[in-house]
């Protein structure tokens, strides 16, 4: 503890030297923390390049980049929302890079300036001891058996949930959400906040839970099942991008190569995310096993505010 006091004092003295060290790369990333910790350790072991990383939610990472814009320090950005890659490319903030390891990544998971690290999908997370029948479809959760027992993550706080809401409302209108709301379903914060009451049993299911968090809980012994409705769901590819202001572009490219290497993708799979590369195995359903709802990103994000407002109106008390 005293050491920390000294460390704070020491920092004051050593401010200037911080940027001098040579082989290192700064990575800003959305969660999970364990993923970036393992990727950083593996990358440093292989290349000797140190990884300085900052991990928070996609939103907080973006806030930091926005505030730092006058003097940016980030070299590589990993977001949990593909929208970031599109938007940053439009702002001309990204460095085009085609990693040799990206060959095996399907085309819809890469652009000139971004490539997916891994992919998550949305699902129904259901507690089998909740005394409710096992749901198999989104619309099941609007049935009387689930009255007052369903949580939805807030689409304003979770990019993936927003895409699910947009995709479902585009294909079948707002009727499903009207009946969910009428059935007492509530909007409960970001992803983890929506899942927690389901684990304890206060709620029976999450409508649109991020799959890997639930899989990780299940691996730890939580009583939770992850159900992908046959009618389709949305996926959230997690783009890796190199910022064009980076002064460590070679190191940044090596980091992207590592993330897409066999080792890097195995680490991604170990977190119960779907690896971006089609040739890497994982112990969970992969993209090919799921029915993916079409999302026209351009159109969907074009009327994001409108969709969120409609959604909020339906679930307003």
């Amino acid at each position: 503890m005293l050491k920390s006091v000294f460390r704070v004092a020491f920092c004051a003295a050593a401010l200037v030297s911080a940027s001098a060290a040579s082989a290192e790369v700064t990575v800003y990333t959305a969660g999970p923390a364990a993923l970036i910790e393992k990727l950083a350790a593996g990358f440093t072991a292989e290349t000797g390049i140190k990884v300085n990383f900052f991990q928070a939610t996609t939103g907080k990472v973006m806030a930091r980049i926005e505030a730092e814009a006058a003097n940016p320090v980030v070299d590589v950005l990993i977001s949990a929302s593909w929208d970031t890659a599109t938007d940053f490319a439009k702002r001309d903030w990204l460095l085009p890079y085609a990693s040799p390891n990206a060959d095996k990544v399907p085309d819809f998971l890469k652009t000139d300036t971004a490539v997916a690290q891994g992919v998550s999908a949305l699902a129904i997370a259901w507690n089998p001891s909740s005394g409710t029948p096992k749901p198999s479809e989104w619309s099941d959760l609007a049935k009387p058996e689930y009255k007052d027992l369903v949580n939805l993550p807030d689409p304003a706080q979770s990019g993936a949930t927003f895409e699910l809401v947009a995709a479902l409302s585009a294909s079948q209108g707002w009727a499903l959400f009207d009946s969910l709301s009428a059935n007492g379903a509530i909007v409960a914060g970001a992803n983890a906040e929506a899942l927690n009451p389901v684990l304890q049993g206060a709620k029976a299911a999450v409508f649109g839970a991020v799959d890997y968090i639930s899989f990780n809980g299940k691996a730890k012994g939580e009583n939770i099942e992850v159900i992908f409705p046959a009618s389709g769901t949305v996926i959230a590819p997690r783009p890796v991008m190199i910022l064009n202001w980076s002064k460590k572009q070679d190191e940044a490219k090596k980091f992207v190569d590592y993330v897409l290497s066999d080792d890097g993708q195995a680490i991604v799979a170990s977190q119960n995310l779907m690896p971006a590369r089609a040739d890497i195995k994982a112990e969970r359903p992969l993209i090919a096993d799921l029915k993916i709802l079409p999302v026209d990103a351009e159109a969907v994000y074009g009327k994001r505010a409108e969709t969120l407002a409609d959604f909020a109106k339906i679930f307003a008390k």
Partner: protein, 559 residues
């Protein structure tokens, strides 16, 4: 009253320099961000263009009213819980007094977002209360009174400690004088003791108000279901929802600052209407009355509050930390030390985060205590020109949401032309904590200085003491009890600060709160709660040790 005149005294110079770094720089950048939307990219284009959009939001008035309502409810409920207890504690010989003090310290040491999660897990359907007694109180919890209830349990200790100490300092001497002149005990209390305790009461209520309108975790977790949106939740949404709206967040923060500033003006108006000087250098007999037949009812009252405010949240946290899985519930087979083992085994992450936060907490307490005492002295006891401005500066950060302070600090200290900068070092966290928490020691110290008679200082100056000596040998010792209390408060809040820390922590640095938050975010609620429990233990034990050491050295009761 003869206040000190003359030029700038060294105390004032240090106070002003410190305030420039801790408050003025980040605040100027927040205001600049509100005016110049593209400030982050180093451009001053389109000034004021964001103002119209943010201020014409039709929900703004509703959110502002909700914020005021919540602030008022929390202030009222905190006072309702704390003042009777504090008066009893200050005037009477309450059995087990030290124990109650320690127990009332705990709710304050529980980070609000943790306490809220504990309450949710206790009161929601199939929560711990249902598992033990078959009832749930979810309807109450997820309502506006529920939010105010949970927040008041966290804030009432601020009022309790301030008022009980003030009443103790005021003592029964003045009331005794009243009694000699024929006042009934009740009349002496209402007309003499309580009014004399006004500075402590008003200062602590102001703090509670600012804490309540600035608090993010509880309204965010409980309020969304009640459709209750306050300014802070709206600010957070603007900062975390792409496209990021920093100007909008800055503008809404300024609305919060105005609210807190209005409360501050009210407090100052109350305090300057008359003199509250009771520390005149005359000896005080610190005799407390006996409770007599009220002994057991009073014990029951203290025990009830301690149980609801300290025991229930702590037990909920402990139950979650000891559960192998959340879905396993409260059963013997599901209990184990796995989560604690994971924390203690994680030497690189958890223990380093603990060390970082405790170090920062101590550094923040010392810095703000020092700066707070100097500023308060300048404000109350000198005639320096511009001391009113100083007073305003020390109150400004009071209602600034942590996340906005973080953004202001990044904007200020991440300029490319700066030769050296604290940004991306641990020092930036210290600056953030000092900015957010400086108002606390200043409020306490100002209240304390208001009660010190000017004749003490005048006597010392006549006897040849320099201003520095007077400050160090006379003023500082007299305000020490209040200062220590406020520094412990800073320590407690700094070690658990979440919202600013998430955004501003240097790459690779975790604090206790960001560590716990990451555990929650990944669904490891149990591990997060285990860390929270250890932290509460340490952050409660540490101040108690400090107080114990001081008591032994000085032989005077502080807490």
């Amino acid at each position: 009253m003869a206040r000190l005149r003359g030029g700038l005294n060294p105390v004032t110079i240090v106070a002003m320099t410190g305030l420039v770094f801790v408050v003025v720089i980040p605040f100027v950048f927040i205001v600049a961000q509100a005016i110049f939307p593209h400030l982050g990219r180093g451009s001053l284009a389109a000034p004021f263009s964001a103002m119209v959009g943010a201020l014409s939001d039709p929900r703004l008035i509703g959110m502002t009213m909700n914020t005021l309502l919540l602030g008022a409810l929390v202030v009222g409920l905190s006072a309702l819980i704390a003042v009777p207890l504090a008066v009893l504690r200050g005037l009477f010989r309450v059995p087990l007094a030290v124990l109650w003090d320690v127990l009332f310290l705990i709710p304050f040491m529980i980070p609000p977002y943790i306490a809220t999660l504990g309450w949710i897990m206790t009161l929601q359907p199939r929560g711990y209360l249902t598992q033990l007694f078959g009832v749930d109180l979810a309807t109450f919890l997820f309502s506006v009174p529920g939010i105010a209830f949970v927040m008041s349990l966290n804030t009432f200790p601020v009022v309790y400690f301030a008022v009980s100490r003030t009443i103790e300092t005021v003592g029964s001497r003045y009331a005794d004088v009243g009694r000699v002149f024929g006042a009934s005990p009740a009349k002496a209390f209402w007309r003499i003791t309580l009014p004399l305790a006004t500075p402590g009461l008003v200062a602590s209520l102001l703090l509670v108000f600012a804490m309540a309108i600035e608090e993010y975790g509880t309204p965010a977790a409980l309020g969304t279901r009640a459709g209750f949106e306050v300014l802070v939740t709206a600010i957070d949404l603007r900062v975390s929802d792409w496209p990021i709206d920093l100007p909008g967040a800055a503008i809404l923060s300024l609305v919060l600052v105005i609210l807190s500033f209005a409360a501050f003006l009210l407090q100052r108006w109350i305090l300057t209407r008359r003199s509250y000087q009771t520390t005149t250098g005359k000896p005080q007999a610190g005799a407390r009355r006996e409770l007599g037949r009220w002994r057991y009812p009073v014990i029951a009252l203290f025990a009830l509050v301690a149980f609801v405010a300290a025991a229930i949240p702590i037990l909920a946290i402990l139950a979650t930390a000891l559960s192998r899985t959340i879905s396993g519930g409260l059963s013997l087979a599901n209990l184990g030390l796995d989560n604690f083992a994971a924390i203690l085994g994680d030497t690189s992450g958890a223990l380093r985060a603990l060390g970082t936060s405790l170090g920062l907490g101590i550094a923040a307490a010392i810095t703000t205590g020092f700066l707070g005492a100097l500023s308060a002295y300048t404000i109350v006891k000198t005639k320096v020109r511009g001391r009113g401005l100083l007073d305003v500066l020390t109150i400004l950060p009071n209602a600034l949401p942590g996340i906005v302070v973080a953004v202001g600090l990044i904007l200020a200290w991440n300029q490319p032309w700066l030769p050296i900068t604290p940004y991306n070092t641990t020092l930036i966290l210290l600056l953030a904590y000092c900015c957010i928490l400086l108002p606390q020691p200043v409020r306490y110290a100002t209240a304390a200085f208001h009660q010190i008679g000017d004749n003490l200082e005048a006597a010392a100056r006549v006897a040849g003491a320099s201003p520095l000596i007077v400050f160090r040998r006379i003023m500082l010792p007299l305000i020490m009890p209040g200062m220590i209390a406020s520094m412990l408060l800073v320590f407690a809040v700094a070690t658990r600060e979440l919202v600013a820390s998430i955004v501003i922590a240097p790459v690779g640095v975790s604090t206790i709160s960001t560590y716990i938050w990451r555990q929650f975010e990944q669904g490891s609620v149990g591990q997060g709660m285990a860390m929270a429990f250890l932290t509460i233990l340490i952050s409660t034990a540490f101040p108690l040790m400090v107080l114990q050491l001081m008591r032994r050295r000085k032989g005077s009761p502080m807490l």
